[in-house]
Symmetry: C2
Subunit: 126 residues, 2 copies
């Protein structure tokens, strides 16, 4: 079986995506919803949410898989699968340096999602 050198161009969410007039100020079009929903879905799992946090809050903005895996009571392949999900959602970026693989958070994308949710306005009280 031939080796594919290009593992994942995915990037549904680019850093230049226009996106994000706040969800509460303007109705989200179907296209935009379809583009953004996978990112929220990827965050919709406790393990992935913790992974995302561990990666984003890491020292250099990147975390080694070897540090992430032992933080859970899950098998290595399962963690790898969750990381792949985050990667395909465009939330993180992976890079292999020597023996280890490092994941880095795409903070621009996180900020886009945050901007979408932030209702410029106030709390529940009208």
């Amino acid at each position: 079986m031939p080796k594919q050198a290009t593992p994942l161009p995915h990037t549904v969410l680019g850093d230049d995506t226009p996106c994000c007039p706040p969800l509460a100020q303007q109705r989200v079009p179907a296209e935009v919803a379809t583009a953004l929903a996978p990112a929220f879905k990827a965050l919709g799992d406790p393990v992935r949410l913790q992974l995302m946090s561990m990666i984003a809050s890491a020292e250099n903005g990147e975390a080694c898989v070897c540090d992430l895996t032992p933080a859970f009571d899950l098998s290595g392949p399962t963690i790898s699968h969750h990381l792949r999900t985050l990667r395909e959602a465009g939330l993180v970026d992976a890079e292999r340096r020597g023996t280890w693989v490092y994941y880095r958070a795409r903070k621009a994308v996180l900020n886009q999602l945050a901007a979408l949710l932030a209702s410029g306005g106030g709390t529940t009280a009208p």
Copy 2:
């Protein structure tokens, strides 16, 4: 790990939940991740994301189901099911007034989620 499934006591997310030191500044504990993940999961569907937007951006901050349903090519029960999911995730609130049912967005919760994602810092590494 002795993971205890949350039985969905409604309102996992209260308006007074302290929550939300940004995800990128402090590692999210397992409990918090378990509490917040359902909200992101609820937003992880294009239909629900549009519903959320339609409700949050409605005139009085509330939208009638009779206005929401015809906006999609889905059956009534399916829309109802999605609204229920949003409700159980604590993202919206439902109220019946006479014949119609109105849904209102919990903007405080949306703001909490936004604050969690907003990485006080900058964009992706330049």
